[in-house]
Subunit: 214 residues, 2 copies
């Protein structure tokens, strides 16, 4: 695979998953940066040319565009050891990836976004009222992950897979949403295992100045 | 595949996706019914033996358990024509399945659940405050689907796939959440195409009396 373009905001964990997948399978991505806080993914041009849904990440492969971070990871990793061979293990890997999007990201990533980038004072009343529920669901998600890892090294099958990559992205910055990861010793050990793998890359990297969100 | 057990509440669209996938690929599932309104998936036995997350659907294959509806559909359909051959089309199918769980189900299915099964009077204040946002996001989801179908018959590639099955489940009952499907002519035609396919089965079926939720 070559000539792929990743349209991203490098502060987003959903974009980081794709960088991490690409790094592990040895694919070079051209990265184009958009600042979601400045509405750069809601311009008429972006909606027309990149994604009618107004969201990043988007992977561009020639004249074809792919959205949804976990689907993009699957595309990049298809046929590699990041996807287990057996049908059950493949489905179990997808199980964690769907779980991540339903039970982890809307709680942990959303709280991180609200606290670190939007700012509590700028939240709407409806958002503020959801903080308690999202905190509770985020804690339940981290607890479920910690218990799952009690007797295994990786999330699906017995190998490092896309399940680990997709869960790593927002878990390793959960402290930015005031989750105390020290309370989850198995999770801490798993985070360390992921970070020590050959090919690992850190989040962001491209535009560190953009981390100082306005 | 044989000897599979689906732990379900047959009123759930997430369970229906699995029945529909099984019907199309010709797999017989033993179905075990739980009433989520009566907490039957939160008992100590269910949490210990079936799913520590307390949710249905769960597919049991011998002593292995699989959760997340869309991952279960992938397991049942792996190697069949319900999953396209090409890597891009496979990823694009998964894109719609992830989108369904992130942008469709939490809005349309949740409003259906609140309105039809919980009842507006029984909602919490936090839930009530979310209705407007979920209504708006649900309308945006239906609109995106309708526009996507303007020049194609199926959601991913040029064939009926798991993307269609997973999106069909809650879209075809969106009227139960007071969404007016007549406003989306392409969606209506697509729903009819799905319903006319050989092998199609209707939602529920097993225990129609359970539809009268208390």
């Amino acid at each position: 695979m070559s000539g792929l373009i990743l349209h991203e905001d490098s502060r987003s964990g959903n974009c980081y998953k794709i960088q991490l997948t690409a790094a592990h399978v040895g694919i070079d991505l051209e990265r184009r940066e958009y600042n979601i806080m400045k509405g750069e993914t809601r311009t008429p041009e972006f909606l027309r040319d990149i994604n009618a849904n107004g969201r990043i990440p988007v992977l561009q492969d020639g004249d074809r565009f792919l959205t949804e971070s976990n689907a993009i990871c699957f595309y990049l990793a298809n046929g590699t050891s990041l996807i287990p061979d057996g049908h059950f293990d493949q489905a179990d890997m997808l199980r964690w990836m769907f779980w991540e999007q339903y039970s982890h990201e809307p709680n942990i990533a959303t709280l991180r976004f609200w606290m670190r980038f939007v700012g509590l004072d700028a939240l709407t009343e409806v958002q503020r009222m959801q903080i308690g529920g999202k905190r509770e669901s985020g804690l339940a998600a981290l607890d479920l992950m910690d218990r799952h890892l009690a007797d295994r090294r990786w999330f699906a099958g017995d190998q490092f897979s896309l399940a680990d990559i997709c869960l790593f992205a927002y878990t390793h910055v959960a402290d930015e949403a005031n989750f105390d990861l020290e309370a989850y010793p198995e999770l801490i050990r798993w985070l360390e295992r992921v970070m020590l793998l050959p090919g690992h890359v850190e989040m962001g990297g491209q535009t560190p100045l953009a981390l100082n969100a306005s």
